[in-house]
Structures are given as structure tokens and as C-alpha cells.
């Protein structure tokens, strides 16, 4: 049971404060101190604080009893998402401007500490206050575009500013719906180039601006198989190990036709989550051929050859490679193959960082690093590695999961725009040397 809810700015000012059971004193000042420690769970005098950070704000709940931290964290995430849906964007400014709306939301969402509902469909029956948009809406403002499902560095991919518009706003009424397929890839490649472990966590998220709730049918690959045992012949079936669905999803056509039927409520939601362990349907996107040797007395030579195994038309973006170097490394010189790449030594992290903004499929890049390590011993060569990489692969899913079609029924009157987007992120991509 939740005792209090706060929304705090990054400086610790409290923007919103709701005392659900009205018997606890205000302890925010204390909590602000705790924030600097950045620990998920804090307790003080029998009050346990749980917080998440979203949109530069702290979303905090306190409790006196023994509730489920999952419930509270889920709720806080939901609260943040709803605030974003209602106010358009998450920022100190938008929260301040819409405080009345947020109080109203909170009143409906939590009663005496019991979470009542977080569904926009239900909430919109009760909410009276109009959102105040913090930004005038402009079609030409393309700076704030991006997939809303993940914090991504990429920009200018989707042709809409949808992501930063309040869903309930009466202005700019557009029948838009976005479907994003987001996958997170974690891979461990052994020292001999053997794939040791691969995991894909994926999700399908939709953000819906359709004012009337109509049924939407999302068709996935027909050959999609679920579960470990259902290998179908030799066909390169798209396979996932396990999937979970939003409770609003109707699955009566899923087993035969792989069609998800959903009546999307306005706003953002995850329709399906899935995962695949141990097996990648395709080769891992990057292969590394490293060689590490002692040059002269106090120098280590690290030669890295990196190959991108994506199809030629695809590109990886924002590739960064981190190589741990021996303790006490002082300086580094490097030879890179093109000027847009960068490399630097970070003695504090005992690592060197090589960044490649754009890496086309099928290409191969190499780099040579000479690291000076005073007092180098043969044992310190063991400190080099494992190499970790981070990157993103736009328009690409590693499982091969695709959205075949997106149908709205009954057919929307007027123009409805449907967007489907794909992206794969590296969650953890490790190559051992």
C-alpha cells in the first residue's frame, strides 16, 4: 500500500505531493538527501521510499507496509507514462503547468494507497482538466523525433512529431498510430570467435492517437513459432522462446494466423514482449579479430579488426567499442581507417574507447592502438579484454519478426496514418579476447 507519492524535480523540489493516507508527515527534505545516493530502495523511520527516474524527474512512492516493490515500480513507470501521454512530454515545466491535471489523475489512480487503474480508457471518463501543452505544436518541428520505446540516440527516422504531443489534446487531431518493434540483443562471443551466449529481448509497442477505440489487427510473420520444441522442418522459421501479451490483447487468431487483435487505448502501451535465448537466427552482427601483444618494454599493441556481418543494405549506427587496458596505462596513439572515427584512452576506467558513427553491412574496419604502460608485466596483458560493444541497428530485427499488416476495423473515417518501425539495440555485446 502506498503512503505518499511525490514527483520531484532533478534538483529535489517537489512538484507534486500526495499523501494517500494522511497520517505521515512530510519527509521529502530527507528524501532529497537520499536521492544523491541513488539507491532504488531507501528506508527511514519505518517509511520505505521507492523511486524511479524518468524524464529528468524523480517519481517517488513511500510506504509503511510490506508491499510489492514490483507493483510500486510498475505503478511509478505507469504514472510517468500517463503523465507523458496526458501532458505531451515529461519535463519539470510540463508537470508544473499541468499540476491540477496530475492531481486529478492521481486521485483517480490511487485511493487510500490502493492502485485503482492506470488505463487511459477508464481514466478519460473521469478526467476533467484539459492538458496545457508546453510547446506550440508545429508540423515543421522535426527535432524531437525518435522512437518512444527506447532511449535512442538516433534521430530523424520517423516522419512525425507524434511522440511529444498530448494524446488527449483536442488540437492537432490526427488519426495516427505507431507500432514499434524494439529488440535488445545481448551476446557473448568467446575468445575463439565462438558464439557462447545470445539473448534477444523484444517488444512490440504501440502509441495510439485514435480518438475512437476501434479494433486493430496486427499480423506477424505467419511462420512465427513459439517455444523451444516447435522446430518446423528445415524452413528458416522465425522463432521466439516465450512471449507475454498485454491483457487487452485478444489471441483467438494468434495460434493459427499469428494475428494480434487489440483495441488500443489512447496512449502508449506494450502489446507483446518476447524473448529468444541461446540461438540467433542469423550470424551475430559483429565479429572481432583482435591481437594483443607486447611491443617493447612498456608498450602494448592492440590490433582490432572488426567485421560487420549485416546484409549490405543495412547499417549499424553509433558503434562504440570499449577495450579494457592494463592498469596504469598513461597514453595511447592510434591508427584509424577513417577520419569520422574517434578513439580515446580513459585512464579512469582503465579502458580505451573507439567510436564509429556509421558502419555499413559487410564492411570491415581495423584499428591499431599503441598503449603505453609503465611497468608492464606479462600478467598485465591478461588485463586486456573482454571487449564490449554498443550499437544500434535501425530497420532491423534480429529475430526476423516482422509486422505483415496493420488493419483497423471498422475502417477509420478520414485519413489514418499508420507507422511501423523496427530497431535493434545492443544490450550487452561482449567479445572475449
Amino acid at each position: 500500500m502506498i503512503s505518499q507519492i511525490f514527483i520531484l524535480s532533478s534538483k529535489g523540489d517537489h512538484l507534486i505531493y500526495k499523501d494517500c493516507i494522511l497520517t505521515t508527515g512530510l519527509l521529502v527534505a530527507l528524501f532529497c538527501l537520499c536521492l544523491y545516493l541513488l539507491i532504488l530502495l531507501q528506508s527511514h523511520k519505518g517509511l520505505h521510499f521507492i523511486h524511479v527516474r524518468q524524464g529528468g524527474l524523480y517519481w517517488v512512492a513511500s510506504t509503511k507496509t510490506n508491499p510489492s516493490p514490483f507493483t510500486i515500480i510498475e505503478f511509478l513507470n505507469r504514472l510517468a507514462a500517463l503523465t507523458k501521454d496526458y501532458c505531451g512530454s515529461l519535463s519539470e515545466k510540463s508537470v508544473r503547468m499541468n499540476f491540477a491535471l496530475i492531481y486529478e489523475l492521481l486521485d483517480e489512480m490511487v485511493d487510500f494507497g490502493y492502485i485503482q487503474t492506470t488505463s487511459t480508457d477508464i481514466l478519460k471518463n473521469f478526467i476533467q482538466t484539459e492538458a496545457v501543452s508546453s510547446k506550440p505544436f508545429s508540423l515543421f518541428d522535426l527535432s524531437n523525433v525518435g522512437l518512444f520505446g527506447a532511449e535512442t540516440q538516433q534521430s530523424k527516422v520517423a516522419p512525425s512529431v507524434a511522440a511529444s504531443r498530448p494524446i488527449m489534446s483536442s488540437r492537432g487531431e490526427q488519426n495516427e498510430i505507431f507500432v514499434d518493434v524494439i529488440e535488445r540483443l545481448s551476446v557473448v562471443i568467446g575468445s575463439k570467435g565462438v558464439l557462447m551466449k545470445a539473448d534477444i529481448q523484444g517488444e512490440i509497442r504501440i502509441k495510439c492517437f485514435l480518438p475512437t477505440c476501434s479494433e486493430m489487427r496486427i499480423g506477424l510473420n505467419e511462420e512465427l513459432s513459439i517455444g523451444k520444441s516447435q522446430l518446423k522442418g528445415y524452413s528458416s522459421a522465425v522463432r521466439v522462446d516465450e512471449c507475454r501479451f498485454h491483457q487487452a490483447v485478444k489471441l483467438d487468431e494468434f495460434d493459427t494466423f499469428r494475428i494480434l487483435k487489440v483495441c488500443p487505448s489512447q496512449g502508449e502501451q506494450t502489446v507483446m514482449q518476447y524473448q529468444l535465448c541461446d540461438e540467433l537466427p542469423c550470424a551475430p552482427p559483429f565479429q572481432l579479430f583482435p591481437s594483443v601483444e607486447k611491443d617493447y618494454v612498456n608498450r602494448v599493441l592492440i590490433f582490432l579488426k572488426l567485421r560487420c556481418d549485416l546484409p549490405p543494405k543495412s547499417t549499424a549506427l553509433n558503434v562504440s567499442i570499449t577495450v579494457p587496458v592494463p592498469k596504469g596505462s598513461t597514453s595511447m596513439s592510434q591508427e584509424l581507417s577513417s577520419p569520422d572515427q574517434t578513439a580515446e584512452l580513459q585512464p579512469k576506467n582503465k579502458a580505451l574507447l573507439w567510436e564509429i558513427p556509421r558502419f555499413p553491412g559487410g564492411a570491415q574496419l581495423s584499428a591499431l592502438f599503441k598503449v603505453d604502460v609503465p611497468g608492464l608485466s606479462s600478467a598485465s596483458l591478461l588485463e586486456v579484454g573482454p571487449v564490449s560493444m554498443s550499437f544500434e541497428l535501425p530497420k532491423q530485427t534480429c529475430t526476423g519478426l516482422q509486422i505483415r499488416f496493420l488493419r483497423l476495423s471498422p475502417t477509420q473515417t478520414g485519413l489514418s496514418q499508420r507507422w511501423v518501425r523496427y530497431v535493434t539495440h545492443s544490450d550487452s555485446y561482449t567479445i572475449r579476447i
Binding site: K11, D13, H14, L15, I16, I21, L22, T23, L26, A29, L40, L41, G46, H48, V52, K64, T65, N66, P67, S68, P69, T71, I73, F75, E92, K93, R96, M97, F99, A100, Y103, D107, F112, Y114, I115, Q116, T117, T118, S119, Q128, S186, K197, D241, E242, R244, F245, H246, Q273, Q275, D278, P324, A351, A379, L382, E383, P386, S388, D427, S428, T430
Partner: protein, 964 residues
């Protein structure tokens, strides 16, 4: 308010950048402005004004002065405005209870409004106003709302009952709201059901014994139906409520499980975890041979794995829960080892938790994989993580025997890296491996010894010293190695000092010839130059052991050590059961029962898993893989070491070894200590030389008396403490010279010597107190520990003048025999505590039993004869008193002086037979027959007594009396 004003300042800064008009700084007169606006006729203006008021309220400004004006705005058709006013009311009603009454009418009216939103709003807000007067008016509207036609109003009213119960529990019961609430469980709307369940659960927690939440198969069925329809949050309430139900049999629990299982694929992880909790609990009741049981096990794994795809914070929460589940039912996740492999970008708290689970899941089937991973982790950057990874390798070796060899070679590889902290951790775990598999991997000792110099952490040094001591016979230069540590003895931490002491004693016992000096050195370092009581006491115990009976010492110190258990830091089974009932809650993250951190009565009930039903019992077999952890809860290693374990220097051992009881035989002088010990050690001659010396007599004085009564120690160790004391035995009129009982160096300059005497039927303890310190001593007092004959001081210790340096005072302390009685070993042992202005000192001494021979101990002849016959012959003890050149009469007189009375004398064939009787203060009679043959200096003494244990002490008295 200081921080509030600071916040206002921040706000001022902020408002320059934002155009948020509600947050402009308060200026004087703003309240008046707002007042005017609130009373404006225009609705828009009113609304804006209320918004401004609420903005101020949020920031922490006091706007309670506006109460009447805001309440005036309450009567409006505008729902938005009404909501704002109600928000204000909730905050300030408590501080303005009288004015809050003004709002009641509107509330009551609103509760009958046509619009269900307004009805719900009114009843929700009223419940949040904690003013007694308002509570009275709340009952009627609440009753109506509980039966409202609109489900939205009903669900709000259900929560309102919980609110009201929090304010006034009695009122809720009197008004019968609880019954109405129970009825709502059968409501048609799932949201109403969920809220009713939540409210009832909350109320039930504050009445632990009430049967409020009367769960029966019918209500459970209704709940399960509602479960499918209500919102995700409602599902959590219902699942948590289900978890508290105890199904009648395994069939019912199976049917509940079947209906809960679909929740496992819910997108909300809180729902998933609540469902896991219900299943884990009800599984307990399912027979294990049931097919469904296996199916359920399989179904539980994927959702748990999926929880790990969330944000790191949630992952951590999930891992803490999985840790519990793995301890309870390892078979669920036994095939999922890979998901617990660490990712390089996991935060450290996730990494450590994953490592822990990996070890718990390690089995013969997957050990190769695990080891390969762990080896990789051991070369990572994060020091904490690397250490834990190295430890994990050791734990694997101990857990999976087949892998031990591979683990050891992995550890050796890691030692070769020479990375300092890796080497140290590796040595610490290798020590444990040696404990688990004795005499198997000693070949690596040489490699370990090479790294001796690089060890700088106490734990690693201690581990290394332990290894050297334990395998001293196989390490050629063990003495040199240990000696090198000894140089900086005082700079070491206690852990290392203790280990060093033990290791050198072990070394001495194994190679006595070459290491005498070393052991003497360490014993004196430990006992004389150290302030640490643990070290000192352990030193004394070893010293005493070695000096008393080196063979016994060998048996004690080099005893077979009990094997260490494979699983360490398991949660204690009862706690684990309780935590399983709290899966998904804070308790499962803290791994503490809720009562440990929840205040008040809430949540203090201890939950238990349901008992397994009979049908599955007989077939219960460990169905885990070949070497998977068995079902039975493994013995948990006790965390606090006991004295015995400490003595044996077992870090983790349960007390199973027995200490051979050490004979309270003669001590050797300090100088002679090692010589004597060595002789007997080499010769195997237990007899020892009875060389008397006073040197060690004072040694146990420094030991706190409480040590002797440690429960685990038993008799064996008790003996150790009782060795001190009397050398010369005084008797009768003859009083033995005083002996030193407490050495000045052990007692901060106070030296005590003393003796005992019986003068005219009064027992006296004669003490000489000598001040060998530089300062004056005052405030003397004395106390005895409980002893065999209840000796106790009959008066205070009469030291009237302060004892100045180098002064000696003689005191005579009268003793009574009315003190508390406890049998001591030996019987005549007395433990004494002396206090002065400096400290309290302890010593023990032995008194001659003749002290207790009473004056009226002469028995009637007839009685003597009868008693002699009556006492069984088993109780008879025979002694030889040698070298006495006295005739029977002189001897008889001499004995009479010590209250040993001769009753009759017979002469048969030149042999005098004296029949004698003695009575002790506690009424025990001792009968004796002494045979004296003329010309033979050896007397034969037969003693009969109903308490045969006193016989040897009586004999001692005879000997002393006759020889002096």
C-alpha cells in the same frame, strides 16, 4: 520552514524560465488577492484562483487562512472546480476541524447527486478527512454508496470503509460495514470485488485472529472468476488474498493453481510475481508424483526468466526473489543457468546477486559451463566482482565434488596472474577446499607458498598461515615461514594473530624438536604482550594444555576436523518458508521477515507454507538431477563459533569433536614447561614428572570465570581452569605457608598470596595483599564463585586503609559454608574474584578438605560399625601413606587436632588398626580404617564414604597432617 522557503526561492528562479503563472513567489497581500478572486462571480476566475491556492499548497505554503473562501466555492456544478476544492479540503480539514463542518452539508448532498462521479468523489473525499465530527456524518452516505447502482461508486465506497476503519475501527464494526463489505466480494463488477478484497485484507491484518476474510471454496471461486476480468492492479489484490488461503486438499490446490497459471504470462511483472507466490505456496500441497506438479515446475521457469529483461532495479528485485525460489525449489530453474550469466554492463548489485544464484544452481551437469564463466569474471575490472567470482569458484569446488580438481587448477591459473587481490582471494578459498577435501590437493602448497609475500589482507594471511600450520609436516621450512610472520606479530590483526598462535602450536606438536623456541615465543607474545582477551585466553589454554598433558593437547589441537558443509549462507529454513509466503514484497528483497521492518501490528503475522498432504509423502524422492541439491534443507552452518570450535580453530565447524578430558594432574613450573612437555611427548609417557612449581599457579587467574561455564565446553575444559592453586596443604593447627595465588603482573600490580585455616571451629582465609604497582589501591572487595561446599565470605574484606605502593597487608577473612553450592572439579577448588579501585581480578585456589572437618565428628561405636557395614564395598578406597615414622598414638593425636577422631583401636599380629570418623560441614560422614605395622613406615588407609568422591581429598588431608 527553512527548507520550504528555500524551495520558494528555487521556484522563483524557476519561474523566470518557465511561464508557469501559478508558481510565482508569494508577496505580501497575495492571500488577500486570492481571497478576492475566490469570491469573484466569474467561474473561470474562481477556478484559476483555486488552482493558485493549490499550487501554493503543493509548495508547502500555508494557505489555510483561505479555508472559508475555498469551501464557499464547493457548491458548484463544475466538476473540475469541485475536484480542486476537495483536494484543498483533504489537506486542511485536519488543521481546521471546526470549519470543516461547514463542508459536511455539501458532502451529504453530493452523495445523493445524480452524477455518479460526484457521488464517488464526495464519498472518497469524506473518507480522507480525518476529523471525528465529520466521521459521524459519513456513515449514512457511506451505507447508501455501498449499495449504489453504479459500480464506480461502490468500489470507491469499499475503499472508504478501509479509510473509516483506520480512523475509527469500532464505528465500522458497530455500523455493520464489514458485513456489507463481505457481500461486495460477490459483486458483479470485478473492480468492486478487487477493492473489497483489498479493504478486507487490510482490515484483517489489524485483527490477526478475526476470521474476517472468511475464505471458503465458494468465495475463492468468486475471486478466481473476478481475477480474469479485473484490472491488473485488482488482480494483484486478489492474488495476494488467494495466497493467504489454505486449500482443504491437494485437489483443490491443484484447481486453484490451474486457474492462476495464466497470470504468469501477464505483461505486468507485479502480477506475475504475485501469481508465482500463490503457485509456490500451493505447490507445497501437491504430491510430487503428480504429473501436474511437473508441468507446473516447467511453467514457472519462463516467467521468472522474463523478469530479468526489465530495468536493472527491477532485475535486482527479481533476482532477490529468484534467490529465494532457488533455495526452496532448485529444480524450477535448473536448466536456466545461462540467463544468470553476467553481462558486462550489469550494475554491480545485479552481478553479485547473479553470481550467488549461479552457485546455488551449479551441479555436475553444468559445472563446466559455470567454471568457464567464472574464470572470465575473474579477469574483469571491477575488484569487488572479481573477488566474489574467485570465491564462487571455491564454492563450486566445495559443492560439486567432481569439479574440485578443475576448480583448483583454475584457481592456480588465477594465482599465476599475480594480480594481488585475485591471489589473496584464491588462497582464502583454497583453504576451504583443503578443509573439504583433506589430503587431496596438497601438491599446490608449494605454489601458494611462493606468494606469501604478496599477501597483505588479514583474511588471506590468516588463510595462508592456517594452511602452513595444518600441513606443517609437509612443508620443509614451515618454521621459517611462520617465524617470518611472527616478527610483526603486534601489527597483525587479531584474526592473523589467532591463526598464527594456533599454527605454531600445531607445528610444535608435529615437529616438537626444532620448534620449542618458536612456540615459547608465540605463547609469551600472546599471553603477556597482548591486550586482546581472545588471544590471551587462547594462548593460556594452549599453554596449559601443552604443559599439562601434551598428548591430550595433541589430541585436542590436531583433532579430526568436521567437514564443512557444501552450502554456505543459506537462509534458515523457517525464515525461508516465511519469505516464500512474501514473494514479491519488500520482505523478499530485504530477506527479512516483515515484522523486522514494518512498524506496528500490521504485517506481523508470521505466514507459513501449507503442510504437504499425505498422498505424496511416501513417494517423495529427490527428483533433481544426479547431483542436484537434495530436497531436505541442508544443515545451516551456525554463524557464531563456540569456544570449542575456536580452540580447534575451526572457522565453520559445528561442535562435534569431543575434547578428551584432561587430568587435573600436577603442573610443571614455567621454566620446566617445555622440557617436561617435550619428554612426555617424545617418550609417549603420560605420567609426567610431578615436579611442583608455583609458577603456573596464577595463570588461570587472568581468565574470566565466565569462560569456564561456557555451555559447549563441558567438563573437559572446565578442568583446564582448575589446575591452579594450592601446593602446600595446611591442616589443623598447622597452617600451610601462604602461597601466591595471584601474580602481580597478571593483576595490574596486586599480588595476593594466602592460605586457609580452621581455628576454633571457624574457617578463615588468610590473605596477604601486596601492592606492587605505583599507585595507591583502595576499595577492596571479594567474592567467591559457587563451590562444592558452599564456602562464602562471612563478612566483607577488611582492608581499612588504602594500600600504598610496596605495602603489604594481612587480612583474615572468616568464611561460612552457607553459600550457594555447585560441584566443582576438583572438589576442593575455589574460584575467587577480587576487586579494587583498578579492576576486577580472578584466580582460583584449592583448600584442604580438613577445613571442613567439624569438631563434633566423633561417631558412636555401634553406629560406626553399622554404618561401615551399610556402605557398599564399592565405595571403599585404599591409599598408601608413605614414610611416616610415628606410632599409632601420636598419629591419632595429631589427627584429632584436625578433627579426625579415633573411635577404636585394635591390635592384631603387631598391626595397629585405627578406626576413625570425620564429619564434614555439610553432614557427610567419612569412615576410615588405618593400619599401622610397626617398623613399616607405610600406612595403609581405607576410606569409606557414601560420597566416594571426597575420599582422595580426605586422604590428602591425612597425608599432610601426618607429615607435618
Amino acid at each position: 520552514m527553512e527548507w520550504a522557503s528555500q524551495l520558494c526561492e528555487n521556484r522563483g528562479l524557476g519561474s523566470k524560465m518557465t511561464d508557469s503563472k501559478y508558481f510565482t513567489t508569494t508577496k505580501k497581500g497575495e492571500i488577500f488577492e486570492l481571497k478576492a478572486e475566490l469570491n469573484s462571480d466569474k467561474k473561470e476566475k474562481k477556478k484559476e484562483a483555486v488552482k493558485k491556492v493549490i499550487a501554493s499548497m503543493t509548495v508547502g505554503k500555508d494557505v489555510s487562512a483561505l479555508f472559508p473562501d475555498v469551501v464557499n466555492c464547493m457548491q458548484t456544478d463544475n466538476l473540475e472546480l469541485k475536484k480542486l476544492v476537495y483536494l484543498y479540503l483533504m489537506n486542511y480539514a485536519k488543521s481546521q476541524p471546526d470549519m470543516a463542518i461547514m463542508a459536511v452539508n455539501t458532502f451529504v448532498k453530493d452523495c445523493e447527486d445524480l452524477n455518479p462521479l460526484i457521488r464517488a468523489l464526495a464519498v472518497r473525499t469524506m473518507g480522507c478527512i480525518r476529523v471525528d465530527k465529520i466521521t459521524e456524518y459519513l456513515c449514512e452516505p457511506l451505507r447508501k454508496c455501498l449499495k449504489d447502482e453504479d459500480p464506480y461508486v461502490r468500489k470507491t465506497a469499499a475503499v472508504c470503509v478501509a479509510k473509516l476503519h483506520d480512523i475509527n475501527a469500532q464505528l465500522v464494526e458497530d455500523q455493520g460495514f464489514l458485513d456489507t463489505l463481505k457481500d461486495l466480494i460477490s459483486d458483479s463488477n470485478p473492480m468492486v470485488v478487487a477493492n473489497a478484497v483489498a479493504a478486507l485484507s487490510e482490515i484483517a491484518e489489524s485483527h490477526p485472529n478475526s476470521n474476517l476474510l472468511d475464505l471458503n471454496p465458494q468465495t475463492i471461486n468468486k475471486l478466481l472468476t473476478a481475477l480474469n476480468e479485473c484490472t491488473e492492479w485488482g488482480q494483484i489484490f486478489i492474488l495476494d488474498c488467494l495466497a493467504s488461503y489454505l486449500p482443504r486438499d491437494d485437489r483443490e490446490s491443484q484447481s486453484i493453481c490451474e486457474r492462476v497459471t495464466p497470470r504468469l504470462s501477464h505483461a505486468n511483472s507485479a502480477v506475475v510475481l504475485s501469481a508465482v507466490k500463490v503457485l509456490m505456496k500451493f505447490m507445497e500441497m501437491l504430491p510430487k508424483d503428480l504429473d501436474y506438479y511437473g508441468t507446473l515446475l516447467k511453467k514457472l521457469a519462463p516467467p521468472l526468466v522474463t523478469l530479468l529483461s526489465a530495468e536493472p532495479e527491477l532485475q535486482y528485485v527479481a533476482l532477490r526473489n529468484i534467490n529465494l525460489i532457488v533455495q526452496k525449489r532448485p529444480e524450477i530453474l535448473k536448466h536456466e543457468m545461462k540467463v544468470f550469466f553476467v553481462k558486462y554492463n550489469d550494475p554491480i548489485y545485479v552481478k553479485l546477486e547473479k553470481l550467488d544464484i549461479m552457485i546455488r544452481l551449479a551441479s555436475q551437469a553444468n559445472i563446466a559451463q559455470v567454471l568457464a564463466e567464472l574464470k572470465e569474471y575473474a579477469t574483469e575490472v571491477d575488484v569487488d566482482f572479481v573477488r566474489k567470482a574467485v570465491r564462487a569458484i571455491g564454492r563450486c569446488a566445495i559443492k560439486v565434488e567432481q569439479s574440485a580438481e578443475r576448480c583448483v587448477s583454475t584457481l592456480l591459473d588465477l594465482i599465476q596472474t599475480k594480480v594481488n587481490y585475485v591471489v589473496q582471494e584464491a588462497i582464502v578459498v583454497i583453504k576451504d577446499i583443503f578443509r573439504k577435501y583433506p589430503n587431496k590437493y596438497e601438491s599446490v602448497i608449494a605454489t601458494l607458498c611462493e606468494n606469501l609475500d604478496s599477501l597483505d589482507e588479514p583474511e588471506a594471511r590468516a588463510a595462508m598461515i592456517w594452511i602452513v600450520g595444518e600441513y606443517a609436516e609437509r612443508i620443509d621450512n614451515a618454521d621459517e615461514l611462520l617465524e617470518s610472520f611472527l616478527e610483526g606479530f603486534h601489527d597483525e590483526s587479531t584474526q592473523v594473530q589467532l591463526q598464527l598462535l594456533t599454527a605454531i602450536v600445531k607445528l610444535f606438536l608435529k615437529k616438537p624438536t626444532e620448534t620449542q623456541e618458536l612456540v615459547q615465543q608465540v605463547l609469551s607474545l600472546a599471553t603477556q604482550d597482548s591486550d586482546n582477551p581472545d588471544l590471551r585466553d587462547r594462548g593460556y589454554i594452549y599453554w596449559r594444555l601443552l604443559s599439562t598433558d601434551p598428548v591430550a593437547a595433541k589430541e585436542v589441537v590436531l583433532a579430526e576436523k568436521p567437514l564443512i558443509s557444501e552450502e554456505t549462507d543459506l537462509i534458515e529454513p523457517t525464515l525461508l518458508e516465511e519469505l516464500i509466503c512474501h514473494i514479491g514484497t519488500l520482505a523478499s528483497v530485504y530477506h527479512k521477515p516483515p515484522s523486522a521492518f514494518v512498524e506496528g501490528s500490521r504485517g506481523v503475522q508470521h505466514k507459513r507454507l501449507p503442510p504437504r498432504t499425505g498422498s505424496g509423502e511416501s513417494t517423495e524422492t529427490p527428483d533433481v538431477g544426479q547431483s542436484g541439491p537434495s530436497e531436505a534443507p541442508p544443515a545451516v552452518i551456525p554463524s557464531q563459533g563456540d569456544l570449542l570450535g575456536d580452540l580447534l580453530n575451526l572457522d565453520l565447524a559445528p561442535p562435534t569433536a569431543t575434547v578428551p578430558s584432561v587430568q587435573p594432574s600436577m603442573q610443571m613450573g614455567a621454566m620446566d614447561l617445555l622440557g617436561g612437555g617435550l619428554d612426555s611427548l617424545l617418550g609417549g609417557d603420560i605420567g609426567g614428572s610431578p615436579s611442583m612449581g608455583a609458577g603456573l599457579g596464577a595463570a588461570p587467574a587472568a581468565m574470566p570465570a565466565s569462560l569456564g561455564s561456557a555451555p559447549a565446553v563441558g567438563g573437559g575444559l572446565g578442568d583446564l581452569f582448575d589446575l591452579g592453586g594450592g601446593v602446600g596443604m595446611p591442616t589443623g593447627s598447622y597452617v600451610a605457608p601462604k602461597t601466591v595465588w595471584l601474580l602481580a603482573m597478571k593483576a595490574k600490580g596486586l599480588e595476593i598470596s594466602g592460605t586457609f585455616a580452621r581455628r576454633g571451629g571457624i574457617i578463615q582465609m588468610d590473605l596477604s595483599l601486596t601492592n606492587k604497582a605505583m599507585s595507591v589501591m583502595t576499595d577492596f572487595a571479594i567474592q567467591f564463585n559457587r563451590n562444592s561446599f558452599g564456602l562464602a565470605p562471612a563478612g566483607p574484606l577488611q582492608v581499612l586503609t588504602p594500600l600504598s605502593p610496596n605495602q603489604t597487608i594481612d587480612v583474615s577473612l572468616p568464611l561460612s559454608t552457607s553459600g550457594p553450592v555447585m560441584k566443582m572439579e576438583p572438589l576442593n577448588n575455589l574460584q575467587v574474584a577480587v576487586k579494587n579501585n583498578i579492576d576486577v581480578f580472578y584466580f582460583s585456589c584449592q583448600y584442604p578438605l580438613s577445613l571442613l572437618f567439624v569438631e563434633d565428628g566423633k561417631m558412636d561405636r555401634q553406629v560406626f560399625l553399622a554404618t561401615w557395614k551399610d556402605i557398599p564395598n564399592d565405595n571403599e578406597a585404599q591409599f598408601q601413606i608413605k614414610d611416616i615414622h610415628l606410632n599409632s598414638d601420636v598419629a591419632s593425636n595429631k589427627l584429632q587436632g584436625s578433627n579426625i577422631f579415633t573411635i577404636a583401636k585394635r591390635t592384631v599380629e603387631g598391626q595397629d588398626m585405627l578406626y576413625q570418623s570425620v564429619k564434614l560441614t555439610n553432614g557427610i560422614w567419612v569412615l576410615a580404617e588405618m593400619r599401622i605395622q610397626t617398623g613399616n613406615p607405610n600406612y595403609t588407609l581405607s576410606i569409606k564414604c557414601r560420597a566416594p568422591e571426597v575420599c582422595p581429598f580426605v586422604y590428602q588431608c591425612y597425608e599432610l597432617v601426618l607429615k607435618n
